[in-house]
Amino acid sequence: MDLSKDLVAASATPIILAILKNRPSYGYAIIRKVQEISKNEIAWTDGMLYPVLHRLEASGFISSFWRTSENGRRRKYYEITNAGIEELLLLKRQWEMVRQALLTLEKEYEGESQDV
């Protein structure tokens, strides 16, 4: 099942923040992680991740630093900031709210259909 473009865009921020909350990471690893946890259902175009990361950094939710890996490759790592952790909590609450709304509606209509 493919997510719609809008949903991908909306969910990218909480997913990235949640991954970085665990430990600092770099672009390529983040993409792999997303594929792994979603069993390849959520597929981002690789190049799209970076502008999102940069926007998050500009908003102060994450910060970045360069580090050279064992194989000599320079990678830009991102780590979550306190503001980012707060934002993640807020976003999670918002998603939960939407989920609850959908569940409630479902139950309500189930009840109605039994009434009929």
Partner: protein
């Protein structure tokens, strides 16, 4: 034979040429591409297959570029200093502004360094300030670009070495009467350091035609330098007005503000304004109606007229002209301006119309021909003076400069000629001219470093 490194370099180059993605971002994308390739190769694909898939996964240049454009500050110059409800823009601008303010103060404080060594008096020790001016003014700009483009730290430190050497050379070389070599150093050092700034402006080169070696980036740098200069002059004029006002109003209340102005306001303002100018130009670089094309169009025909006037004046009385050494110096100043103007109009010719031949190209060509004639006259004058009075530091510098200028002007004129005859493209003129910058840099370095030694610091 598929060569992975070449392919990656080409891909990177392509991305750089066709987008406004900065150096740091590009390096991040490259490291991603390489990770991706490594993983694909580990699944039994060969290099070529892995490369193609990895590039495909990264997405096409256009969409990456669009996404980056959204995240970059380049289109946000309009919001400069104006409160905005866009959180991202506010955050980026505040941070950049902070960096710029710190660097400007740094430039101003650099201007105070001579006073640590007891040369605080701006007027009495003017020569010391003149020698170091380029260092004080340009070093903070270099640092600004290290920050702005997130350049690799080690390479940047290496690239800063010319600043160190320059400051050692101009301050430790002795200077004896009549101080000609010291003066030549002061004049030529800005050229050397400007060339170093090119590196910081365009980033390190990964191949022959990328980073600071790419003709495209060099042309952009020329425009950047020209516009920064104009901005600096404008800000400087504002500064002068401010100084006069300060002086006048404080005088009215019976306080003499001139010590403060002389010791702090003027030097700090002067050295800081270059950083501010560079920042403003960098902020508005995506602005289409930039000032370069307008200026070059106004002044190309006017300069042509001035050169023609010079030629006529010279022809009417050649003997007197050669007697007067001031005239030769002014010839050179005019020629340097002509060259700057040509470079400027080249950079103003946008990519879209690069293949069309316009009336402005004809003006530029006419200007070049007139400049070649003027340069030949100047050269003849210098040769006569050298044969009469022998080689001195000043004359050797002038001789070298005029020869280099002549070669440059002839190359440019022949390039334009081929361009009009459609045997070559405008791009090849740009390529030649941007490479020629190396010659100026080398020559200026020779004058700064070796001339004092050769002419025993006189």
């Amino acid at each position: 034979m598929f060569d992975l490194e070449t392919q990656i370099r080409d891909w990177k180059h392509h991305l750089q040429e066709h987008s406004s993605i900065g150096y740091g971002d590009l390096e991040e994308l490259e490291s991603h591409l390489r990770d991706s390739i490594d993983e694909l190769v580990a699944t039994q694909l060969n290099n070529e297959e892995a490369f193609l898939i990895a590039v495909k996964r990264l997405g096409d240049v256009d969409s990456i570029q669009r996404e980056f454009a959204k995240a970059s500050t380049e289109d946000m110059w309009r919001q400069l200093f104006i409160p905005t409800d866009n959180r991202l823009a506010t955050h980026m601008n505040t941070r950049e502004l902070l960096v710029v303010i710190v660097l400007t103060l740094f430039a101003g404080l650099l201007g105070k360094v001579p006073s640590l060594f007891g040369y605080g008096d701006f007027e009495a020790h003017g020569a010391i300030y003149a020698r170091n001016a380029a260092i004080f003014a340009f070093l903070p700009i270099a640092l600004y670009f290290v920050w702005k483009r997130s350049l690799p730290v080690m390479k940047s430190i290496v690239a800063l070495i010319p600043f160190l050497i320059a400051s050692l050379v101009v301050n430790l070389y002795p200077s004896f009467e009549p101080h000609h070599t010291a003066m030549l150093s002061a004049i030529h050092l800005p050229i050397v350091l400007l060339y170093t700034l090119l590196y910081f402006y365009s980033g390190p080169a990964t191949g022959k035609e990328s980073g600071w070696r790419s003709p495209h980036n060099r042309l952009n740098f020329i425009r950047f330098a020209g516009e920064s200069f104009i901005f600096a002059v404008l800000i400087g004029l504002g500064g002068v007005v401010l100084i006069l006002l300060t002086m006048g109003t404080f005088e009215l209340v019976g306080i003499d503000a001139s010590p403060f102005i002389q010791n702090w306001m003027a030097p700090m303002g002067f050295f800081g304004l270059f950083t501010i100018a560079a920042y403003l130009v960098e902020q508005k670089k995506s602005l289409i109606e930039s000032i370069a094309p307008v200026l070059s169009r106004i002044f190309t025909p006017l300069f042509f007229l001035v050169l023609m006037g010079l030629l006529i004046a010279f022809a009417s009385n050649p003997q007197d002209a050669y007697e007067n050494r001031m005239l030769l110096i002014w010839f050179d100043v005019v020629l340097a301006l002509v060259l700057a103007l040509t470079l400027y109009s080249m950079s103003a010719k946008d990519q879209v119309s690069a293949s069309t031949r316009t009336i402005w190209d004809a003006f530029t060509f006419a200007l070049l021909i007139a400049a070649i004639l003027v340069d030949l006259i100047a050269l003849a004058g210098i040769v006569i003076r050298v044969s009469n009075y022998g080689f001195t530091a000043n004359k050797s510098a002038a001789l070298g400069e005029n020869i280099i200028l002549l070669v440059n002007l002839v190359l440019l004129a022949s390039g334009y000629m081929k361009f009009f005859r459609r045997t070559s493209s405008f791009q090849s003129i740009v390529r030649m001219q941007t490479r020629f910058l190396d010659v100026y840099a080398v020559w200026a370095t020779v004058v700064v470093m070796l001339f004092p030694l050769v002419f025993s610091f006189t």
